[in-house]
């Protein structure tokens, strides 16, 4: 819960709820999502959806089943994230059919996500839509799992894909507000 609150603060939820606007909030590394106490079987995760009014990403808290390693946790989180029903006031940033294939850490702090998009035809995104999708993933993974300081996204095992036609697909992305 502590981590979810820190993330919410980072993304300005506190400002929305009234009071003074925080000025220099930074994400804090508080470790992977709090593992449940024995028997609970759930971990809290902060997800991001698109605010239809502003178009910006907005965080919300959800739960995923408990996991044994960051790799497994990220896989479980993304499985849930891509297929979930978003809260009524938010829109999913992901095209239908997107699934996680693999997660690995080639170097300390650097996480590679290999995602699968089964349709032959790419979804045809503009840069805003592409950025929203990428940063919903990057923020979700990086801010929930401190082991993933930066995140690279492969689609169907490849860097250059028709999925990512604007942003630099070779980059390791850091979370963005």
């Amino acid at each position: 819960m502590v981590r979810a609150l820190v993330l919410a603060l980072f993304f300005g939820l506190a400002a929305c709820s009234g009071g003074n606007t925080p000025t220099t909030l930074q994400p804090q590394e508080t470790g992977s999502p709090e593992q449940p106490a024995s028997g609970e079987g759930k971990a809290q995760i902060t997800f991001f959806g698109v605010n239809p009014g502003s178009g910006s990403l907005q965080p919300f808290v959800g739960e995923i089943p408990a996991f044994s390693s960051p790799e497994k946790g990220i896989l479980i989180m993304l499985d849930s994230y891509f297929a979930m029903k978003f809260p009524e006031h938010l829109v999913s940033p992901f095209p239908r059919g997107l699934r996680p294939r693999a997660v690995y850490f080639p170097s300390k702090g650097m996480c590679v996500l290999d995602l699968e998009f089964p349709e032959a035809e790419p979804p045809g995104m503009g840069s805003e839509e592409e950025s929203t999708m990428v940063y919903a993933i990057v923020n979700g993974v990086s801010l929930n799992f401190s082991e993933a300081r930066s995140v690279k996204i492969l689609i169907n095992g490849r860097e250059a894909s028709p999925f990512l036609t604007h942003l630099d697909a070779s980059a390791f992305f850091k979370p963005r507000k």
Binding site: V50, P52, G53, G55, V91, S92, P93, S107, K108, G109, M110, P122, G124, M125, G126, S127, E128, E129, S131, T132, R149, S150, P162, T165, H166, L167, D168, A169, S170, A171, F172, F173, K174, R176
Partner: protein, 468 residues
């Protein structure tokens, strides 16, 4: 069997190695021991199984004399024919050396009917990191990527192009499979690359690109005259290339070909819209302001993102403008936006490694990297200025609220050595924007606004951002 022994030449790291060979079943079997000994491997036989074991550079290879398989680090690889033992000598087929052993130790292996040449990378080698072949409309672009800048010459005679270097070459990756209407083959040599053309007398021109250093050959069919020509040898680019005589703008209509970009579900595609808009901007820049304008594409064709800025670098443009149309997950987002490059939101492997391993960036590669970053910083200031002028100009012309200038790590803007921006004309997911973008008058209004901003930029900066 001895009567069949071949006169076979084996050269390892430029030194001849005495070894014997003989033909069998369409391949050549070559004596193993002298080769692995020269390569610094240990070699032995299992007493019980009579199998053989090679330990080389941390890898283990195991094989038997009655099997067409070799176990490489626990993985099974097949051979064209089983190894043969003659007395104390062990013979393995040629494909073991060029297909298994050399790739395993990162050595280059070239073989002919009577030769086997194995070369390991040395400090003086010039590293070719890759060779790419692209067939574009009417011509072929051959790109040779190098780890560092190099002196080279290009000579064309009949159907052969010889790219010669002063230092031995080391090919880090396999050469591409050739399926090209103008190029028959690419043959790597020790200090040269030979390109065999399908048509004698094709036109061949070469130039270089930086960051990373690339030698580019444009190959096109010659007009119907079959003459042999020798193009003068070209060296690395001059240190201070003269800037173009007139203010030059490269316009890049986003996407193209199979890459449609954003779509609105009613047939409107980003690639078509960006081309229409870019052609309008070109006309205004050329006719009204008298600038030189180069388009990255004028038709519905696929172009690599890297090639787009490479084109701008090649013509030493003063500004690079990539034109796009946007889409969002919701229909409420609308209006034009202007972007320029930021690298803040991405991690560079070097930075991460430096943090993790406490490394100091002192290697030549790292210094090159830092210099590249500094150059990027300089052009980013120019980009910010051009982006600001463009955003204001579009807002003034259209009367729409200014969505502001933004920064993003757009691939198409990376590598540009001049101010470079990306314009999003509007959202294909917003009905009002679509209605406006489909109108010729509105698109002309936006094109005029972009051209006016470029002109303002030229007045304000002149050649100040020309950093080539």
């Amino acid at each position: 069997m001895l009567a069949l022994l071949l006169a076979f030449t084996i050269i390892i790291d430029q030194a001849p190695v005495p070894a014997t060979a003989f033909p069998q079943g369409g391949t050549t079997l070559i004596e193993l021991q002298p080769i692995v000994r020269e390569l610094g491997a240990t070699f032995g036989q299992f007493e019980l199984t009579q199998g053989w074991r090679i330990e080389i550079e941390g890898h283990t290879l195991v094989f038997g004399t009655d099997s067409q398989f070799v176990v490489v680090d626990g993985e099974l690889k097949s051979l064209s024919t089983a190894p043969v033992i003659q007395g104390e000598k062990c013979f393995l087929p040629l494909d073991f050396y060029d297909g298994i052993l050399c790739p395993l130790i990162g050595a280059q292996c070239r073989s002919g009917t009577q030769t086997l040449i194995i070369s390991r990378r040395t400090a003086s080698d010039l590293v070719i990191t890759g060779v790419q072949l692209h067939y574009l409309t009417g011509f072929t672009k051959l790109v040779i990527m190098l780890e560092q800048e190099a002196t080279y010459s290009v000579e064309t005679e009949n159907d052969t192009v010889r790219i010669a270097f002063r230092r031995p070459l080391y090919f880090q990756n396999p050469l591409p499979e050739i399926k090209d209407p103008l190029v028959r083959s690419i043959v790597p040599g020790r200090q040269e690359i030979i390109v065999q053309l399908l048509n004698a007398g094709s036109n061949v021109s070469s130039y270089t690109l930086q960051s990373p250093f690339r030698i580019v050959l444009d190959i096109s069919r010659a007009p119907s005259r079959a003459v042999s020509s020798t193009t003068p040898a070209r060296q690395t680019p001059p240190l201070s290339p003269s800037p173009p005589s007139r203010f030059t703008v490269v316009l890049d209509p986003g996407h193209g070909g199979k890459d449609t970009g954003a779509r609105n579900g009613e047939g409107l595609t980003e690639k078509d819209l960006t081309l229409r808009a870019a052609l309008k901007v070109r006309r205004i820049l050329a006719d009204q302001y008298g600038y030189d304008v180069v388009m990255t594409r004028q038709d519905d064709i696929d172009i690599d993102l890297d090639e787009r800025t490479a084109k701008a670098n090649e013509v030493r443009a003063h500004a690079f403008i990539s034109i796009h149309a946007n889409s969002a997950r919701t229909s409420s987002a609308h209006g034009a936006e202007v972007y320029y490059l930021t690298l803040d939101t991405v991690d560079r492997q070097l930075q991460v490694l430096a943090e993790d391993e406490n490394l100091s960036p002192t290697r030549t590669d790292d210094i090159q990297f830092i210099l590249w970053d500094l150059a990027q910083s300089a052009t980013i200031r120019g980009s910010a200025s051009l982006a600001d002028l463009t955003a204001r100009s579009i807002a003034d012309a259209t009367g729409l609220p200014e969505r502001g200038v933004k920064q993003a790590p757009f691939r198409v803007l990376m590598g540009a050595t001049m101010p470079a921006i990306l314009i999003e004309l509007g959202f294909l997911t917003n009905p009002k924007d679509v209605e406006m973008l489909q109108s010729e008058e509105y698109l002309t209004l936006q094109a005029q606004a972009v051209a006016d901003a470029v002109h303002q930029f030229q007045i304000q900066t002149g050649d100040r951002w020309f950093v080539h």
